[in-house]
Protein backbone atom coordinates (compact mmCIF):
# COMPACT_ATOMS: atom_id res chain seq x y z
CA UNK A 1 0.00 0.00 0.00
CA UNK A 2 1.50 3.32 -0.96
CA UNK A 3 -0.48 6.48 -0.65
CA UNK A 4 0.88 9.49 -2.41
CA UNK A 5 0.59 12.48 -0.18
CA UNK A 6 -1.34 15.45 -1.51
CA UNK A 7 0.49 18.74 -1.77
CA UNK A 8 3.79 17.22 -0.74
CA UNK A 9 5.74 20.06 -2.21
CA UNK A 10 4.08 22.86 -0.30
CA UNK A 11 6.14 22.56 2.83
CA UNK A 12 9.44 24.26 3.47
CA UNK A 13 11.52 21.54 5.00
CA UNK A 14 14.64 22.49 6.92
CA UNK A 15 17.85 21.90 5.03
CA UNK A 16 18.98 18.38 5.62
CA UNK A 17 22.56 17.64 6.46
CA UNK A 18 23.56 16.63 3.00
CA UNK A 19 26.16 13.96 3.51
CA UNK A 20 24.88 10.59 2.47
CA UNK A 21 25.82 7.54 4.41
CA UNK A 22 28.36 5.32 2.74
CA UNK A 23 27.06 1.88 1.94
CA UNK A 24 27.36 -0.24 5.04
CA UNK A 25 27.23 -3.99 4.76
CA UNK A 26 24.31 -5.56 6.58
CA UNK A 27 25.58 -6.39 10.05
CA UNK A 28 23.20 -9.19 10.70
CA UNK A 29 21.36 -11.32 8.18
CA UNK A 30 18.27 -11.44 10.41
CA UNK A 31 17.92 -7.68 10.32
CA UNK A 32 14.41 -7.63 8.97
CA UNK A 33 12.06 -7.54 11.82
CA UNK A 34 10.39 -4.23 12.54
CA UNK A 35 7.46 -5.20 10.40
CA UNK A 36 4.00 -4.09 11.23
CA UNK A 37 2.27 -5.93 14.05
CA UNK A 38 -1.12 -7.42 13.28
CA UNK A 39 -4.06 -5.27 14.37
CA UNK A 40 -4.96 -5.95 18.00
CA UNK A 41 -8.46 -7.21 18.80
CA UNK A 42 -10.87 -4.54 20.03
CA UNK A 43 -11.67 -4.28 23.70
CA UNK A 44 -15.12 -5.56 24.69
CA UNK A 45 -17.47 -2.79 25.77
CA UNK A 46 -16.85 -1.74 29.38
CA UNK A 47 -13.90 -4.09 29.70
CA UNK A 48 -10.62 -2.76 31.10
CA UNK A 49 -7.22 -3.43 29.66
CA UNK A 50 -5.09 -6.12 31.21
CA UNK A 51 -3.52 -4.87 34.46
CA UNK A 52 0.12 -5.94 34.74
CA UNK A 53 1.40 -6.78 38.25
CA UNK A 54 2.50 -3.89 40.48
CA UNK A 55 6.13 -2.91 40.87
CA UNK A 56 5.85 -3.63 44.61
CA UNK A 57 5.06 -7.27 43.75
CA UNK A 58 8.48 -7.91 42.22
CA UNK A 59 9.90 -10.49 44.63
CA UNK A 60 12.96 -9.76 46.72
CA UNK A 61 15.22 -12.52 45.43
CA UNK A 62 17.61 -13.13 42.56
CA UNK A 63 14.70 -13.29 40.08
CA UNK A 64 13.33 -9.97 41.38
CA UNK A 65 16.76 -8.39 41.06
CA UNK A 66 16.90 -9.44 37.40
CA UNK A 67 13.41 -8.04 36.77
CA UNK A 68 14.34 -4.72 38.39
CA UNK A 69 17.53 -4.60 36.37
CA UNK A 70 15.40 -5.13 33.24
CA UNK A 71 13.17 -2.22 34.21
CA UNK A 72 16.18 0.01 34.85
CA UNK A 73 17.61 -0.90 31.44
CA UNK A 74 14.27 -0.28 29.78
CA UNK A 75 14.09 3.23 31.26
CA UNK A 76 17.78 4.18 31.10
CA UNK A 77 18.99 2.26 28.06
CA UNK A 78 21.45 4.87 26.87
CA UNK A 79 23.00 5.36 30.31
CA UNK A 80 23.19 1.69 31.32
CA UNK A 81 23.87 -0.05 27.99
CA UNK A 82 25.67 2.62 25.92
CA UNK A 83 27.57 0.06 23.84
CA UNK A 84 24.29 -1.04 22.20
CA UNK A 85 22.67 2.37 21.72
CA UNK A 86 23.70 4.57 18.79
CA UNK A 87 21.33 7.47 19.43
CA UNK A 88 19.85 9.35 22.37
CA UNK A 89 16.83 7.12 22.94
CA UNK A 90 15.57 4.79 25.66
CA UNK A 91 13.08 1.93 25.24
CA UNK A 92 10.57 3.78 27.46
CA UNK A 93 10.46 6.74 25.05
CA UNK A 94 8.12 4.77 22.76
CA UNK A 95 6.86 2.12 25.19
CA UNK A 96 5.29 4.58 27.64
CA UNK A 97 4.96 4.06 31.40
CA UNK A 98 7.83 1.54 31.60
CA UNK A 99 6.28 -0.58 28.83
CA UNK A 100 2.97 -0.89 30.67
CA UNK A 101 0.66 1.51 28.84
CA UNK A 102 -1.96 -0.01 26.55
CA UNK A 103 -1.83 1.21 22.93
CA UNK A 104 1.85 2.02 23.37
CA UNK A 105 3.14 -1.43 22.37
CA UNK A 106 3.12 -2.71 25.98
CA UNK A 107 5.43 -5.57 26.91
CA UNK A 108 2.61 -7.56 28.54
CA UNK A 109 0.81 -7.81 25.21
CA UNK A 110 4.00 -8.80 23.40
CA UNK A 111 5.81 -11.42 25.42
CA UNK A 112 3.30 -14.26 25.07
CA UNK A 113 3.00 -13.75 21.28
CA UNK A 114 6.46 -15.14 20.57
CA UNK A 115 7.95 -17.11 18.89
CA UNK A 116 5.92 -15.62 16.03
CA UNK A 117 5.55 -17.33 12.69
CA UNK A 118 5.36 -15.16 9.60
CA UNK A 119 3.83 -16.72 6.56
CA UNK A 120 5.16 -14.06 4.19
CA UNK A 121 8.74 -15.25 4.44
CA UNK A 122 8.14 -18.55 6.22
CA UNK A 123 10.22 -17.44 9.21
CA UNK A 124 9.91 -17.72 12.94
CA UNK A 125 10.99 -14.79 15.11
CA UNK A 126 11.64 -15.00 18.80
CA UNK A 127 10.95 -12.39 21.45
CA UNK A 128 14.67 -11.79 21.83
CA UNK A 129 15.01 -11.18 18.09
CA UNK A 130 12.20 -8.66 18.25
CA UNK A 131 14.03 -6.75 20.98
CA UNK A 132 17.26 -7.01 19.00
CA UNK A 133 15.37 -5.33 16.17
CA UNK A 134 14.46 -2.42 18.45
CA UNK A 135 18.15 -2.07 19.37
CA UNK A 136 19.23 -2.01 15.72
CA UNK A 137 16.53 0.27 14.38
CA UNK A 138 14.76 2.22 17.12
CA UNK A 139 17.98 2.70 19.06
CA UNK A 140 20.11 2.86 15.90
CA UNK A 141 22.57 0.62 17.71
CA UNK A 142 23.97 -2.86 17.88
CA UNK A 143 21.98 -5.85 19.03
CA UNK A 144 23.24 -7.43 22.26
CA UNK A 145 23.87 -11.19 22.00
CA UNK A 146 20.80 -13.32 22.77
CA UNK A 147 22.36 -14.65 25.97
CA UNK A 148 23.77 -11.28 27.06
CA UNK A 149 23.02 -9.88 30.49
CA UNK A 150 21.11 -6.99 28.89
CA UNK A 151 18.68 -9.12 26.88
CA UNK A 152 18.32 -11.63 29.70
CA UNK A 153 17.27 -8.87 32.10
CA UNK A 154 14.90 -7.27 29.57
CA UNK A 155 13.33 -10.67 28.86
CA UNK A 156 12.87 -11.31 32.59
CA UNK A 157 11.18 -7.92 32.92
CA UNK A 158 8.76 -8.65 30.07
CA UNK A 159 8.08 -12.16 31.38
CA UNK A 160 7.28 -10.80 34.85
CA UNK A 161 4.99 -8.12 33.43
CA UNK A 162 3.04 -10.73 31.46
CA UNK A 163 2.10 -12.81 34.50
CA UNK A 164 -1.49 -13.86 33.90
CA UNK A 165 -1.65 -13.27 30.14
CA UNK A 166 -2.66 -16.43 28.25
CA UNK A 167 0.06 -17.72 25.92
CA UNK A 168 -0.51 -16.95 22.25
CA UNK A 169 -3.65 -14.88 22.86
CA UNK A 170 -3.65 -11.50 21.12
CA UNK A 171 -4.57 -8.89 23.75
CA UNK A 172 -6.50 -5.64 23.21
CA UNK A 173 -4.03 -2.77 23.70
CA UNK A 174 -1.18 -4.44 21.77
CA UNK A 175 0.72 -2.21 19.34
CA UNK A 176 -0.28 1.40 18.82
CA UNK A 177 -3.93 1.15 17.68
CA UNK A 178 -3.36 3.16 14.51
CA UNK A 179 -6.05 5.54 13.27
CA UNK A 180 -7.27 4.92 9.71
CA UNK A 181 -5.82 7.07 6.94
CA UNK A 182 -8.13 10.08 6.57
CA UNK A 183 -10.08 10.19 3.31
CA UNK A 184 -8.14 13.11 1.92
CA UNK A 185 -4.77 11.56 2.77
CA UNK A 186 -2.26 13.50 4.83
CA UNK A 187 -0.52 16.83 4.41
CA UNK A 188 3.01 17.57 5.55
CA UNK A 189 2.52 21.35 5.55
CA UNK A 190 -0.48 21.08 7.85
CA UNK A 191 1.60 18.73 9.99
CA UNK A 192 4.24 21.42 10.44
CA UNK A 193 1.58 23.78 11.82
CA UNK A 194 0.54 21.16 14.40
CA UNK A 195 4.19 20.49 15.21
CA UNK A 196 5.16 24.10 15.78
CA UNK A 197 2.13 24.69 18.02
CA UNK A 198 2.03 21.49 20.03
CA UNK A 199 5.34 19.65 19.88
CA UNK A 200 8.27 22.02 19.33
CA UNK A 201 8.16 23.28 22.95
CA UNK A 202 9.49 19.90 24.06
CA UNK A 203 11.03 18.19 21.03
CA UNK A 204 12.65 21.36 19.66
CA UNK A 205 12.05 23.31 16.44
CA UNK A 206 14.56 21.06 14.67
CA UNK A 207 13.26 17.85 16.25
CA UNK A 208 16.49 17.62 18.22
CA UNK A 209 14.90 16.98 21.61
CA UNK A 210 16.20 18.32 24.93
CA UNK A 211 18.75 17.10 27.42
CA UNK A 212 19.67 17.74 31.02
CA UNK A 213 23.39 17.15 31.26
CA UNK A 214 24.09 13.89 29.42
CA UNK A 215 20.54 12.63 29.80
CA UNK A 216 17.97 12.95 27.04
CA UNK A 217 14.68 14.12 28.58
CA UNK A 218 12.61 14.99 25.54
CA UNK A 219 13.74 12.46 22.93
CA UNK A 220 14.80 13.58 19.44
CA UNK A 221 12.25 12.98 16.67
CA UNK A 222 14.59 13.19 13.70
CA UNK A 223 18.24 13.81 12.89
CA UNK A 224 21.30 11.82 13.92
CA UNK A 225 20.16 11.15 17.50
CA UNK A 226 16.75 9.67 16.64
CA UNK A 227 15.45 6.31 15.40
CA UNK A 228 16.74 5.24 11.98
CA UNK A 229 15.03 4.69 8.63
CA UNK A 230 14.49 1.02 9.39
CA UNK A 231 12.59 1.59 12.66
CA UNK A 232 8.88 0.82 12.94
CA UNK A 233 8.26 4.41 14.03
CA UNK A 234 9.38 5.66 10.59
CA UNK A 235 6.05 4.39 9.23
CA UNK A 236 3.63 7.30 9.23
CA UNK A 237 0.73 5.03 10.17
CA UNK A 238 2.61 3.62 13.20
CA UNK A 239 3.81 7.06 14.35
CA UNK A 240 0.25 8.40 13.93
CA UNK A 241 -1.01 5.72 16.33
CA UNK A 242 1.72 6.39 18.89
CA UNK A 243 1.25 10.14 18.70
CA UNK A 244 -2.53 10.09 18.88
CA UNK A 245 -2.51 7.96 22.03
CA UNK A 246 0.43 9.54 23.83
CA UNK A 247 1.28 13.03 22.58
CA UNK A 248 1.36 15.89 23.46
CA UNK A 249 2.73 14.30 26.62
CA UNK A 250 -0.08 13.82 29.16
CA UNK A 251 -2.65 15.05 26.65
CA UNK A 252 -3.06 11.94 24.52
CA UNK A 253 -6.25 11.45 22.51
CA UNK A 254 -6.65 15.18 21.90
CA UNK A 255 -5.42 15.16 18.28
CA UNK A 256 -7.87 14.18 15.53
CA UNK A 257 -7.00 11.33 13.12
CA UNK A 258 -6.16 14.00 10.57
CA UNK A 259 -3.84 15.95 12.89
CA UNK A 260 -2.10 12.76 14.04
CA UNK A 261 -1.44 11.66 10.45
CA UNK A 262 -0.34 15.13 9.34
CA UNK A 263 2.12 15.62 12.19
CA UNK A 264 3.42 12.03 11.92
CA UNK A 265 4.08 12.70 8.23
CA UNK A 266 5.89 15.94 9.04
CA UNK A 267 8.11 14.18 11.61
CA UNK A 268 8.84 11.30 9.23
CA UNK A 269 9.58 13.55 6.26
CA UNK A 270 12.91 14.49 7.87
CA UNK A 271 16.28 12.83 7.53
CA UNK A 272 17.42 10.35 10.16
CA UNK A 273 20.17 7.70 10.34
CA UNK A 274 20.33 5.34 7.35
CA UNK A 275 18.48 2.02 7.28
CA UNK A 276 21.19 -0.46 8.33
CA UNK A 277 19.80 -2.89 5.71
CA UNK A 278 20.81 -0.50 2.90
CA UNK A 279 21.15 -2.66 -0.23
CA UNK A 280 24.28 -1.96 -2.34
CA UNK A 281 24.32 1.65 -1.15
CA UNK A 282 21.19 2.24 -3.21
CA UNK A 283 18.12 3.94 -1.77
CA UNK A 284 15.79 2.82 -4.58
CA UNK A 285 16.79 -0.81 -4.23
CA UNK A 286 16.41 -0.57 -0.46
CA UNK A 287 12.99 0.96 -0.88
CA UNK A 288 11.91 -1.83 -3.22
CA UNK A 289 13.16 -4.54 -0.92
CA UNK A 290 12.17 -3.22 2.50
CA UNK A 291 9.96 -0.15 2.35
CA UNK A 292 7.61 -0.42 -0.62
CA UNK A 293 5.23 -2.70 1.25
CA UNK A 294 5.92 -1.51 4.78
CA UNK A 295 2.84 0.54 5.64
CA UNK A 296 2.95 4.20 4.65
CA UNK A 297 6.43 5.69 4.64
CA UNK A 298 8.57 8.22 2.80
CA UNK A 299 11.85 6.32 2.49
CA UNK A 300 13.12 6.79 -1.06
CA UNK A 301 10.27 9.19 -1.86
CA UNK A 302 11.06 12.61 -3.30
CA UNK A 303 9.71 15.36 -1.04
CA UNK A 304 10.24 18.98 -1.96
CA UNK A 305 12.76 18.07 -4.61
CA UNK A 306 14.87 15.88 -2.34
CA UNK A 307 14.91 12.13 -2.18
CA UNK A 308 14.48 11.03 1.43
CA UNK A 309 16.55 8.18 2.83
CA UNK A 310 20.00 9.77 2.46
CA UNK A 311 20.65 9.21 6.14
CA UNK A 312 22.52 11.45 8.58
CA UNK A 313 25.41 10.60 10.84
Amino acid sequence: MMITPRRLGTVLLPLFAAQALAAEPARNPRLDDQTQLPKAPARALGQNHFQPPAEADIPNNAYGDLVRRGQDLFMNTKALAPEYVGNEMNCVNCHIDRGRKADSAPLWAAYTMYPAYRKKNNKVNTFVERMQGCFQFSMNGKAPAPDSEVLTALTAYAYWMSSGVPIGKAMPGRGFDEPPLPRGGYDIARGKVVYDRQCALCHGVEGEGKKVGATSVFPPLWGKDSYNWGAGMHRINTAAGFIQHNMPLGRGKTLSDQEAWDVAAYVNAHERPQDPRLVNGDIDETRKRYHAEDGVNLYGVVVDGRKLGQGVK
Binding site: A79, Q198, G250
Partner: protein
Protein backbone atom coordinates in the same frame (compact mmCIF):
# COMPACT_ATOMS: atom_id res chain seq x y z
CA UNK B 1 26.72 49.46 44.53
CA UNK B 2 27.06 50.57 40.94
CA UNK B 3 24.91 53.66 41.51
CA UNK B 4 27.17 55.09 44.22
CA UNK B 5 30.26 54.51 42.14
CA UNK B 6 28.72 55.96 39.02
CA UNK B 7 27.14 59.11 40.40
CA UNK B 8 30.30 61.10 41.24
CA UNK B 9 31.86 59.89 38.03
CA UNK B 10 28.89 61.06 36.02
CA UNK B 11 29.10 64.59 37.44
CA UNK B 12 31.78 65.52 35.02
CA UNK B 13 30.03 64.03 31.99
CA UNK B 14 27.82 65.77 29.47
CA UNK B 15 24.10 65.69 30.24
CA UNK B 16 23.18 63.31 27.40
CA UNK B 17 25.73 60.81 28.55
CA UNK B 18 24.46 61.23 32.10
CA UNK B 19 20.97 60.23 30.99
CA UNK B 20 22.35 57.14 29.33
CA UNK B 21 24.18 56.15 32.48
CA UNK B 22 21.06 56.69 34.57
CA UNK B 23 19.00 54.51 32.23
CA UNK B 24 21.57 51.77 32.59
CA UNK B 25 21.45 52.11 36.37
CA UNK B 26 17.66 52.02 36.38
CA UNK B 27 17.63 48.69 34.56
CA UNK B 28 20.34 47.15 36.71
CA UNK B 29 18.87 43.83 37.86
CA UNK B 30 21.09 43.62 40.93
CA UNK B 31 19.93 47.02 42.11
CA UNK B 32 16.26 46.13 41.61
CA UNK B 33 16.70 42.96 43.64
CA UNK B 34 18.23 44.89 46.53
CA UNK B 35 16.58 48.30 46.33
CA UNK B 36 13.52 47.91 44.14
CA UNK B 37 12.64 49.44 40.79
CA UNK B 38 12.20 53.07 39.78
CA UNK B 39 8.55 53.00 40.91
CA UNK B 40 8.16 52.72 44.69
CA UNK B 41 5.55 50.00 44.16
CA UNK B 42 8.28 47.80 42.70
CA UNK B 43 9.56 46.73 46.11
CA UNK B 44 12.99 45.18 46.53
CA UNK B 45 12.68 41.56 45.49
CA UNK B 46 15.03 40.29 48.17
CA UNK B 47 12.69 41.36 50.95
CA UNK B 48 10.48 38.41 50.02
CA UNK B 49 12.58 36.19 47.77
CA UNK B 50 15.51 36.16 50.16
CA UNK B 51 18.96 37.72 50.22
CA UNK B 52 20.38 34.87 48.14
CA UNK B 53 17.28 34.52 45.91
CA UNK B 54 16.47 31.12 47.37
CA UNK B 55 13.03 32.14 48.58
CA UNK B 56 11.41 31.88 51.98
CA UNK B 57 9.39 28.79 52.68
CA UNK B 58 7.30 30.25 55.50
CA UNK B 59 5.89 33.08 53.39
CA UNK B 60 5.39 30.86 50.36
CA UNK B 61 7.93 33.04 48.52
CA UNK B 62 9.51 30.98 45.74
CA UNK B 63 13.16 30.55 44.89
CA UNK B 64 14.14 32.64 41.87
CA UNK B 65 17.89 31.96 41.90
CA UNK B 66 19.01 30.05 38.82
CA UNK B 67 15.55 29.74 37.23
CA UNK B 68 15.64 30.09 33.42
CA UNK B 69 15.66 33.72 32.28
CA UNK B 70 12.87 33.19 29.74
CA UNK B 71 10.71 31.47 32.36
CA UNK B 72 11.16 34.34 34.87
CA UNK B 73 10.41 36.98 32.24
CA UNK B 74 7.31 35.06 31.17
CA UNK B 75 6.03 34.87 34.75
CA UNK B 76 6.44 38.62 35.21
CA UNK B 77 4.53 39.20 31.96
CA UNK B 78 1.85 36.72 33.07
CA UNK B 79 1.40 38.49 36.44
CA UNK B 80 1.08 41.78 34.59
CA UNK B 81 -1.48 40.42 32.15
CA UNK B 82 -3.48 38.70 34.90
CA UNK B 83 -2.96 35.18 33.55
CA UNK B 84 -1.40 34.52 36.92
CA UNK B 85 -3.15 36.14 39.87
CA UNK B 86 -1.40 37.07 43.10
CA UNK B 87 -2.31 39.99 45.36
CA UNK B 88 1.35 40.39 46.33
CA UNK B 89 3.16 39.84 43.05
CA UNK B 90 0.80 41.42 40.51
CA UNK B 91 1.23 45.05 41.70
CA UNK B 92 4.99 44.55 41.82
CA UNK B 93 5.16 43.10 38.32
CA UNK B 94 2.93 45.91 37.06
CA UNK B 95 5.24 48.49 38.59
CA UNK B 96 8.30 47.18 36.77
CA UNK B 97 9.12 48.68 33.37
CA UNK B 98 9.79 46.24 30.52
CA UNK B 99 13.50 46.96 30.77
CA UNK B 100 13.48 46.43 34.53
CA UNK B 101 11.62 43.12 34.21
CA UNK B 102 14.10 41.90 31.60
CA UNK B 103 17.09 42.98 33.69
CA UNK B 104 15.90 41.41 36.91
CA UNK B 105 15.05 38.14 35.12
CA UNK B 106 18.59 38.09 33.73
CA UNK B 107 20.14 38.73 37.14
CA UNK B 108 18.18 36.00 38.90
CA UNK B 109 18.91 33.50 36.10
CA UNK B 110 22.62 34.15 36.57
CA UNK B 111 22.56 33.06 40.25
CA UNK B 112 23.46 29.44 41.08
CA UNK B 113 20.97 26.82 39.84
CA UNK B 114 19.53 24.23 42.14
CA UNK B 115 21.42 20.94 41.99
CA UNK B 116 20.44 17.53 43.31
CA UNK B 117 22.96 14.75 43.83
CA UNK B 118 22.75 12.01 41.21
CA UNK B 119 22.41 8.41 42.30
CA UNK B 120 21.02 4.97 41.60
CA UNK B 121 17.38 4.74 40.43
CA UNK B 122 14.94 5.26 43.31
CA UNK B 123 12.41 2.56 44.17
CA UNK B 124 9.32 4.60 45.08
CA UNK B 125 6.42 3.10 47.01
CA UNK B 126 3.09 3.13 45.19
CA UNK B 127 0.79 5.88 46.48
CA UNK B 128 3.70 8.02 47.78
CA UNK B 129 4.74 11.47 46.62
CA UNK B 130 7.89 9.93 45.15
CA UNK B 131 5.69 7.60 43.09
CA UNK B 132 3.87 10.51 41.45
CA UNK B 133 7.16 12.29 40.86
CA UNK B 134 8.93 9.28 39.32
CA UNK B 135 6.13 7.09 37.93
CA UNK B 136 3.12 9.37 37.45
CA UNK B 137 -0.46 8.16 37.29
CA UNK B 138 -0.86 7.22 33.65
CA UNK B 139 -4.35 5.79 34.17
CA UNK B 140 -5.32 9.46 34.68
CA UNK B 141 -2.99 10.71 31.93
CA UNK B 142 -0.59 12.14 34.51
CA UNK B 143 3.01 11.60 33.41
CA UNK B 144 5.68 11.43 36.10
CA UNK B 145 6.49 15.04 37.13
CA UNK B 146 10.19 14.46 36.41
CA UNK B 147 9.41 13.73 32.76
CA UNK B 148 8.68 17.46 32.26
CA UNK B 149 10.45 19.03 35.23
CA UNK B 150 13.64 17.09 34.59
CA UNK B 151 15.42 14.28 36.43
CA UNK B 152 15.32 15.04 40.19
CA UNK B 153 13.12 18.02 39.28
CA UNK B 154 16.05 20.23 38.24
CA UNK B 155 14.09 21.73 35.32
CA UNK B 156 14.43 21.37 31.52
CA UNK B 157 15.19 24.17 29.09
CA UNK B 158 13.33 27.50 29.20
CA UNK B 159 9.76 26.33 29.66
CA UNK B 160 9.93 23.71 32.42
CA UNK B 161 10.94 25.22 35.77
CA UNK B 162 12.74 23.28 38.50
CA UNK B 163 10.64 21.92 41.36
CA UNK B 164 13.67 20.97 43.41
CA UNK B 165 14.71 23.95 45.49
CA UNK B 166 11.11 25.11 45.98
CA UNK B 167 9.33 24.77 49.30
CA UNK B 168 6.37 22.46 49.90
CA UNK B 169 4.25 25.53 50.73
CA UNK B 170 4.93 27.12 47.36
CA UNK B 171 4.49 23.92 45.31
CA UNK B 172 1.17 23.18 47.03
CA UNK B 173 -0.04 26.74 46.47
CA UNK B 174 0.72 26.58 42.74
CA UNK B 175 -1.00 23.22 42.29
CA UNK B 176 -4.10 24.62 44.02
CA UNK B 177 -3.90 27.79 41.96
CA UNK B 178 -4.10 25.72 38.77
CA UNK B 179 -6.81 23.48 40.13
CA UNK B 180 -9.16 25.99 41.75
CA UNK B 181 -11.95 24.39 43.81
CA UNK B 182 -15.26 23.08 42.59
CA UNK B 183 -18.52 24.46 44.04
CA UNK B 184 -19.94 22.69 47.11
CA UNK B 185 -23.73 22.36 47.08
CA UNK B 186 -25.36 23.50 50.31
CA UNK B 187 -26.63 20.82 52.70
CA UNK B 188 -29.20 21.11 55.46
CA UNK B 189 -26.79 22.74 57.84
CA UNK B 190 -24.05 23.93 55.52
CA UNK B 191 -24.09 26.91 53.23
CA UNK B 192 -23.24 26.34 49.58
CA UNK B 193 -19.68 27.31 48.71
CA UNK B 194 -19.06 28.99 45.39
CA UNK B 195 -16.46 27.53 43.06
CA UNK B 196 -13.06 29.20 43.07
CA UNK B 197 -11.84 29.33 39.48
CA UNK B 198 -8.15 28.64 38.85
CA UNK B 199 -5.99 31.70 39.53
CA UNK B 200 -3.04 30.46 37.45
CA UNK B 201 -3.90 30.04 33.79
CA UNK B 202 -0.56 30.52 32.11
CA UNK B 203 0.75 27.05 31.28
CA UNK B 204 1.60 26.54 27.60
CA UNK B 205 -1.02 24.38 25.82
CA UNK B 206 -2.63 23.45 29.13
CA UNK B 207 0.19 20.99 29.88
CA UNK B 208 0.12 21.56 33.64
CA UNK B 209 -3.48 22.51 34.46
CA UNK B 210 -5.12 19.13 33.85
CA UNK B 211 -2.49 17.48 36.05
CA UNK B 212 -3.14 19.77 39.02
CA UNK B 213 -6.89 19.42 38.51
CA UNK B 214 -6.66 15.62 38.73
CA UNK B 215 -4.58 15.43 41.90
CA UNK B 216 -6.24 14.81 45.27
CA UNK B 217 -5.43 17.05 48.21
CA UNK B 218 -3.38 14.24 49.79
CA UNK B 219 -1.41 13.77 46.56
CA UNK B 220 -0.68 17.49 46.34
CA UNK B 221 0.76 17.42 49.85
CA UNK B 222 2.78 14.26 49.23
CA UNK B 223 4.32 15.28 45.93
CA UNK B 224 5.13 18.79 47.21
CA UNK B 225 6.88 17.27 50.24
CA UNK B 226 8.87 14.98 47.95
CA UNK B 227 10.30 17.79 45.82
CA UNK B 228 10.85 20.08 48.80
CA UNK B 229 12.83 17.27 50.45
CA UNK B 230 15.30 16.88 47.58
CA UNK B 231 17.38 19.74 48.90
CA UNK B 232 20.11 21.55 47.06
CA UNK B 233 23.59 20.04 47.04
CA UNK B 234 26.67 22.24 46.96
CA UNK B 235 28.29 19.86 44.47
CA UNK B 236 28.77 21.51 41.08
CA UNK B 237 26.42 20.33 38.32
CA UNK B 238 28.27 17.65 36.35
CA UNK B 239 26.95 17.81 32.79
CA UNK B 240 28.79 14.65 31.75
CA UNK B 241 26.82 12.53 34.20
CA UNK B 242 23.64 10.63 33.43
CA UNK B 243 20.68 11.17 35.72
CA UNK B 244 18.74 7.92 35.98
CA UNK B 245 14.96 7.54 35.89
Amino acid sequence: MPSTILRPLALGLSSSLLMLVQAAVAADGEAIIQKGGASPAAMPCMSCHGADGRGMAAGGFPRLAGLPEAYLAKQLADFRAGRRESPLMQPIAQALSEAEAAAVARSYAALPKVNVKTGAPERPREGSGAWLALRGAWERNIPECTLCHGPSGVGVGDAFPPLAGQSAEYIEAQLRAWRGTPAQPGGRKTKPVAAVPPTRRNDPNGLMQHIAADLTEAEIKAVAAYFAGLGDTTEPFDASQHRLR
